[in-house]
Point group: C2
Chain length 424, copies 2
Amino acid sequence: MNAYEQMTKAEREAELKKVRAEFDALCAKKLSLNMARGKPGAHQLDLSTDMLTIVNDPAQCKIDGIDARNYGELAGLPSAKKLFAEILGVTPEQCFIGGSASLQLMYDAIAKAYSNGMLHSEKPWSKLDTVKWLCPAPGYDRHFKVSQNFGMELITVPMTAEGPDMDLVEELIKDPAVKGMWNVPKYSNPDGIVYSDETIRRLASMKPAAPDFMLMWDNAYCVHEFGCEFKPFADILSLCEQYGNADMVFEFASTSKITFPGAGISVMATSVANQKYLQPLINVQIISYDKVNQLRHVRFLQDKEHTLALMKKHAAILGPKFKTVLDALDAEIAPLDIAQYNRPVGGYFVSLNAMHGTAKRTLQLCKEAGVTMTGAGATFPYGKDPNDSNIRIAPSLPPVEELEQAIAIFCNCLKLSALEKLGL
Amino acid sequence: MNAYEQMTKAEREAELKKVRAEFDALCAKKLSLNMARGKPGAHQLDLSTDMLTIVNDPAQCKIDGIDARNYGELAGLPSAKKLFAEILGVTPEQCFIGGSASLQLMYDAIAKAYSNGMLHSEKPWSKLDTVKWLCPAPGYDRHFKVSQNFGMELITVPMTAEGPDMDLVEELIKDPAVKGMWNVPKYSNPDGIVYSDETIRRLASMKPAAPDFMLMWDNAYCVHEFGCEFKPFADILSLCEQYGNADMVFEFASTSKITFPGAGISVMATSVANQKYLQPLINVQIISYDKVNQLRHVRFLQDKEHTLALMKKHAAILGPKFKTVLDALDAEIAPLDIAQYNRPVGGYFVSLNAMHGTAKRTLQLCKEAGVTMTGAGATFPYGKDPNDSNIRIAPSLPPVEELEQAIAIFCNCLKLSALEKLGL
């Protein structure tokens, strides 16, 4: 029983009155604050200002014998492949460099499965009656929407502290209609969970019934520590290969939260056999991605060591923001025990589970008080949280002083919705 | 009868001996020249050097109240929409700004028809047995490959001096399985033909049986004159709307041949109703395209007037290259009458029709002599030219001195293949 449940009716009535008065006072401030999406703040963007002018004349535009300004090099500049290969621990030949969005590369990989079939597919998936997809949840709403766009049946797999529930996964993949699975293996969105070595081993060694199963490995936060030193991570491509699953895995990363979210570069790392199969299909839609921007990134980030040094500067900005959120939750919410939340050391989110049946109402109250949050349910397939409980908090965008106001409002709304739910 | 056909056996034997000796001498030079693709040359790329540094600090990254570095603005910066809207004669609301490739936007539009259906579709096209597509030919190989990728049945429509054969088009669209048509209305690839006003009017006023017919309007060379003043063109969106076909047309353009081919920006212009329908579907695959690069283009190109001034500088480089090609053909080929060719005043290609049955052989000989050309047949659906005749010459990439060598080799190979074909 949480603190509110333990109260007498009179105590709860008094508390509700107090909390509602606070809420009204907050609304009267007519604030406009945003903790909705994992958007870096302006100070983080300023860390990459030098990138704007690092490629500044025609001579600078040539690298690896290639003029980055002209057409060509579908799979990207060799030097850009080398940069991502070092960061991910894969080989340059396994890398395909894309534009500003790794989401586009994920979408495209699945879109090819639909229109053309993958390397080991019997036929294009558009010709199948049913395609099912495993969705560890809470998870990333945009992943789920890609699967939904193609009419897949989304299957929720609960997250544990070690990653997705592997007993369940191993059972579900016996169904040949189950064609793939989303994963954010490091600092999962939104839980901030790092998959354990054992979870990763079990995933790499799976034997799905579908020969063209796609293990989607969105390593969005691979170098994104803010609360600890850089944690090395396993090369999932090698691991899958060891277990005879070389063509099963598709790993993605981007510089969206390293340099500029709106003007970064992205990578899809997969087996050379998959690259050979997919690149001619991708060439139907594009001659080459923006190589001048690839070159800016190569010159600015240089290598893994310099990239990690830049990430320390991001951490110095992000760390205090996460502390602001957690300090407020620790002070206002933990003593009441009306919600549980994670304490991530990397990634972009704090995941909070409110009293069942209060997430939607909490976010509605936040909106009324001028704080925009990710919609309730967004972290579950079809946008439906069965418990109406999970809330994703994104502390990165607002400056600390605004964040303090926003999280204070959020704590008030959490309390108010819990009291409303319990009734009098 | 051409000059070779009119020769006696002995004359032809002597000519063959002479032409083959020239060919052998050319091969001995071991050259490596390229007239394969419509790639701008280095001097053209240098015209946009200022764009590399035009957005050079954080304050410069803000426009229209938007920080171009961060996520957001799926349809592009308002100022980028305004720029393309002025050039195309459409409204900003009708514009969606994409990444470095307009081909990607064309592919995506058709891919959405497949996976989701278009605004007026009964169901996704992947659920239909047959989809047919009209392909004016000679045409652009990459267009045809997009259609082929989705398993469409490609129907060849002959090109006339006025554009596609409209009598045939008006007949073919009575079939509800005919879902769309490729067009390059200005300086068509490869013929360099500008559609006549009457052709454009007939296209805009078509009444296809398919309610979701897509008139694909690739205005790739809309401001790309090199041999005359800028020719204004009709706004196809307004024209279609006048005839009750507002949602039928999708117009595309890019800066690939204005600024940098490998680092430009692109646009899809279509009705506001289509934009409202398509943008949420596009949002499933991408949060936003590279807005910093959009901003570079806005600041560098400024408006239509400045863009046209830049195109004059391109013309000053391209004009002499096309003259080199045409002068050589006029001197070497025209007197023999063994091939016919167009005299374009814009675009990127010279289209040549060789003696039937000699295009493949000509290009094979070119290859042996060190000149890379677009593959024979590439300008026809399925890569099959029924007459083995059409050859696309792309003079833009090599410097004039290399181009002189390349076109001399090409003329020699044309003669040799004609003589071989006629036999002794």
